[in-house]
C-alpha cells in the first residue's frame, strides 16, 4: 500500500495524472469507500486492503469526462471490466492511467457477520502486505478469528486468475484464490426438476427489494438510461405489486449483459438481500461457453461478442429441451 501511495504521489506531482481513483479509509474497519484524491496531501486517507472489493472501472465513465488523466487502481478481475467498457467506447483509454494492484482475495463482511461475529472494533490480517490466512477480529463481545478464505467473497473462490488484462504499471503481488468450480452451483441448479428450480429462484428472488444496487454497480450495466427507467418498453422501474416483476427484471438484466458480463461478481457482492445474482450471469456464460465456444468478456478488446456473432452451424434453440 505504501508503494502504491508513493507512486500515486509521484504521478500526481509530475502531472502525469490529475487525480487518483482508489479507496479511502472508512470509519469502521471494513468500510473503505471508493474515492478520488486530487492532491498528495489527501492521499493520507488512501487505503488498500482486503475490504477494497469495489470494482472501480465503472467510475471511469464519469472520470473519462474530466480534464486530465485519472490514475485508477484495478485488481486483476476489474481489468476485464475495464476492457469491456473500453470495447463499448464507454471509457477513454487515454484518460486512464491503470495501476494493476495486487490482490490476494477480497473479503465479504456479510460472511463474517454470518459467522455470528458482531460488534466489530478491529480486524487484523486484512491488509494486503501480509498474506495472513487468518483474520483476527476484536469485538465488543470479545476476540474472534476466522480463516481468511472463509471470509472471502464468492467470486474470489472462483477467481479468474491473477493476471491483469490491461495496465500501465503493476504494483503489488497477487495470489490466485480459486478453490471451487465456477459453474458448480449453476450445474447443481440445472440438474433440478423444473419445480425445484422454480422454488429455488422464487425463494431467492422474493427477497429482492428492487433497490437497483446490482444494476447500478454493474460495469456492464453502463447504459445512460436503463430500459427500466425509460418508457421505450413501458417497463416500470420500481417495485410492483406482483413478485413477477422481480423475476423479469433479473432475467432481462442478465440477458442485456449476456456476452458482456465479465463475471466480476459485483452484483452479488452488493445485494443487500444476499441474492446470488451471479447465478444468472454465470448461466449465460456457461451456455455461451458450451454452445459457442469459450468466451471471456473483457479478455480481448477486439473479440466479437457472442451475441453479435454467429456461425452457420450454431445449435438450434431446441437443444434446451433435448438436453433434458
Amino acid at each position: 500500500m505504501q508503494e502504491l501511495i508513493k507512486r500515486a504521489k509521484e504521478l500526481l506531482e509530475d502531472g502525469t495524472v490529475a487525480r487518483v481513483l482508489g479507496w479511502k479509509a472508512g470509519d469502521l474497519p471494513y468500510n473503505p469507500e471508493p474515492a478520488y484524491f486530487d492532491s498528495t496531501e489527501s492521499l493520507a486517507d488512501f487505503v488498500y486492503n482486503g475490504f477494497c472489493g469495489a470494482n472501480l472501472s465503472k467510475y471511469l465513465i464519469e472520470a473519462s469526462k474530466l480534464e486530465g488523466k485519472t490514475l485508477v487502481c484495478l485488481k486483476p478481475c476489474d481489468t476485464y471490466s475495464f476492457n469491456q467498457l473500453l470495447k463499448e467506447h464507454r471509457i477513454d483509454r487515454d484518460k486512464a492511467y491503470v495501476i494493476g494492484v495486487g490482490c490476494k482475495g477480497k473479503l465479504d463482511i456479510e460472511r463474517i457477520r454470518k459467522m455470528g461475529i458482531k460488534g466489530i472494533e478491529q480486524i487484523s490480517g486484512a491488509e494486503m502486505e501480509d498474506a495472513a490466512d487468518t483474520l483476527t477480529i476484536s469485538t465488543i463481545y470479545g476476540e474472534r478469528s476466522c480463516k481468511f478464505a472463509d471470509a472471502m467473497l464468492e467470486r474470489c473462490h472462483v477467481c479468474k486468475g491473477k493476471e491483469h488484462q490491461v495496465y500501465d504499471e503493476l504494483i503489488g503481488e497477487s495470489k490466485e484464490t480459486k478453490d471451487a468450480d465456477r459453474f458448480a452451483e449453476v450445474a447443481r441448479i440445472e440438474a433440478m426438476t423444473p419445480e425445484e428450480k422454480f422454488a429455488f429462484f422464487q425463494k431467492e428472488l422474493s427477497k429482492c427489494i428492487r433497490c437497483n444496487a446490482c444494476r447500478n454497480v454493474c460495469p456492464a450495466c453502463s447504459c445512460r438510461k436503463c430500459v427500466f427507467d425509460s418508457n421505450k418498453f413501458d417497463s416500470a422501474q420500481k417495485a410492483n405489486v406482483d413478485s413477477f416483476e422481480e423475476k423479469m427484471f433479473h432475467i432481462i438484466r442478465a440477458f442485456h449483459v449476456a456476452g458482456r458480463c465479465t463475471d466480476c461478481g459485483e452484483c452479488s457482492r452488493v445485494c443487500p438481500q444476499g441474492i446470488p445474482l451471479h447465478l444468472f450471469n454465470r448461466k449465460f456464460i456457461k451456455d455461451i461457453d458450451e454452445f459457442y465456444g469459450e468466451y471471456q468478456a473483457g479478455m480481448d478488446v477486439n473479440a466479437q461478442s457472442p451475441l453479435t456473432d454467429f456461425t452457420f452451424g450454431d445449435v438450434e434453440p431446441g437443444i434446451v429441451g433435448e438436453r433434458g
Partner: protein, 347 residues
C-alpha cells in the same frame, strides 16, 4: 410484567396467529426479514437487524390504491379496501419503533393517509430490547434507548426467558389473548430484566458511533448546509441505487404508477428513492438534475428539513442499516462526521 420460556414461543405465536395476523423476523434463503408467521416459517429472533426495516407492515413497498375495470368503452373504478384485519408485529427494535413514529408524523398529519392510518389502527407493535447491539448502531445519538423500547408491548429476551410488558391499551388487549401461555413475572425476574437493561446500556456506551455529535444539524441551518462544498466531494462514490432508502425505517417517499392488466388498470404506489434519477420527475423535467443534488436531498431531509417541520425530530433513527448495506460504503454517519471534521477545521 409476564414471562414465557423461550421454548414455548411457538405456542405464543400460534395463539396470536389464531386471532390475528402475525408478522415477525423470519429467515428466508439465509436472510432475515419481517414476514408472516406460519408453522414452518423459520423464526429468527437472534439476528439483531432484519435486512429491510419492518416499516412495510404499515407502509408496504407496493400497495394497490384502486382498480379501473374496462368493459367496452365503459370504465368502472373500484377503490382498494382498507386494512380491516388486526395484526401483530412482533420483535421490532427500539429504533424501528421510533421509525414508525417518524412515519406517523408524515402520514397521520393532515391530510391523513387512510391506507397507512388503517394499518396503524389495526396493528399492535410488540418490541424487543436489543440484546447485543452492534457497531453500526447509533440510536443513542437520537435519544433512543434500545434497552427500553417503546411500543404496545415491550419484551426482553434474557437467557431462555422472554419477558413481556404491555405498555398500552392495545398491548393489554393482546396480552389478554395470549394470557394462557404467559406467567406472571416475579421480583427476581424484574431484577434480571433490569440487569439486562444495564448490560445493554453498558454495551451501547462502547459502540463506536455512540458519541457521534449532531451539533450543527437542526432545522435552522438550511442555507449553510445546503451550500456546503462538501457535498460535491461526499456524493462521488454514490452509485445512485436505492439500497439506503429501501432498508431505511423512516424513508417515506413513494411513487404512483399504473399497471395495465389488459382488462383494466391498477393504480398502485410503491416506494421511491430520492437517489433515483427520475425521483420527483415532472412534465417539465427534474428539479434535481445531478446525483450530488439527489444525494444531498436525502441527508438534508433527514437532518434539516424534517426537524424543521417536525419540532426538531430527526428522521434518522440510527438503526445503521444503511451503514451495513451501502454498496459504496457511504452512509449518514460519514456525512455527519465529514461536516463535523470540516467544522472543526474551520474553528
Amino acid at each position: 410484567m409476564y414471562k414465557i420460556a423461550k421454548e414455548n414461543l411457538t405456542a405464543l405465536f400460534r395463539l396470536i396467529a389464531g386471532a390475528q395476523e402475525l408478522y415477525l423476523p423470519v429467515k428466508t434463503a439465509d436472510q432475515v426479514n419481517f414476514g408472516a408467521w406460519s408453522e414452518d416459517a423459520e423464526v429468527d429472533l437472534d439476528t439483531l437487524k432484519s435486512v429491510k426495516s419492518p416499516k412495510d407492515a404499515f407502509f408496504p413497498q407496493s400497495e394497490n390504491l384502486y382498480t379501473c375495470r374496462k368493459d367496452g368503452k365503459k370504465i368502472s373504478i373500484e377503490p382498494e379496501a382498507l386494512k380491516e384485519q388486526n395484526f401483530v408485529i412482533f420483535g421490532m427494535k427500539a429504533c424501528d419503533v421510533r421509525g414508525v413514529e417518524v412515519l406517523d408524523k408524515v402520514f397521520l398529519a393532515d391530510p391523513v393517509d387512510t391506507f397507512y392510518a388503517a394499518r396503524r389502527d389495526h396493528g399492535t407493535i410488540v418490541s424487543m430490547a436489543c440484546h447485543e447491539p452492534e457497531e453500526s448502531c447509533f440510536c443513542k445519538v437520537f435519544g433512543i434507548d434500545c434497552a427500553e423500547p417503546a411500543a404496545d408491548v415491550a419484551t426482553w429476551m434474557v437467557a431462555d426467558q422472554l419477558y413481556w410488558k404491555p405498555l398500552t391499551e392495545k398491548g393489554e388487549a393482546l396480552t389478554k389473548i395470549v394470557e394462557s401461555v404467559l406467567e406472571a413475572a416475579d421480583n427476581a425476574d424484574e431484577k434480571s430484566v433490569e440487569e439486562e437493561k444495564a448490560a445493554i446500556r453498558g454495551i451501547v456506551e462502547k459502540l463506536p458511533y455512540s458519541n457521534l455529535s449532531l451539533g450543527g444539524w437542526n432545522g435552522e441551518v438550511l442555507t449553510e448546509k445546503f451550500d456546503s462544498a462538501l457535498w460535491e466531494e461526499l456524493y462521488k462514490p454514490c452509485l445512485a441505487c436505492g439500497t439506503c432508502t429501501f432498508v431505511c425505517p423512516t424513508c417515506q417517499c413513494y411513487d404512483i404508477k399504473d399497471y395495465d392488466t389488459g382488462h383494466g388498470v391498477q393504480r398502485y404506489r410503491c416506494w421511491d428513492s430520492c437517489m433515483y434519477s427520475d425521483f420527483t420527475m415532472m412534465a417539465h423535467g427534474n428539479n434535481r438534475t445531478s446525483q450530488m443534488q439527489r444525494f444531498r436531498q436525502r441527508f438534508m431531509h433527514k437532518l434539516v428539513y424534517f426537524p424543521a417541520n417536525n419540532d426538531g425530530m430527526y428522521s434518522c433513527v440510527g438503526c445503521g442499516r444503511c451503514v451495513e448495506k451501502c454498496p459504496a460504503a457511504l452512509n449518514i454517519v460519514k456525512v455527519i462526521k465529514a461536516f463535523e471534521k470540516q467544522g472543526g477545521e474551520k474553528a
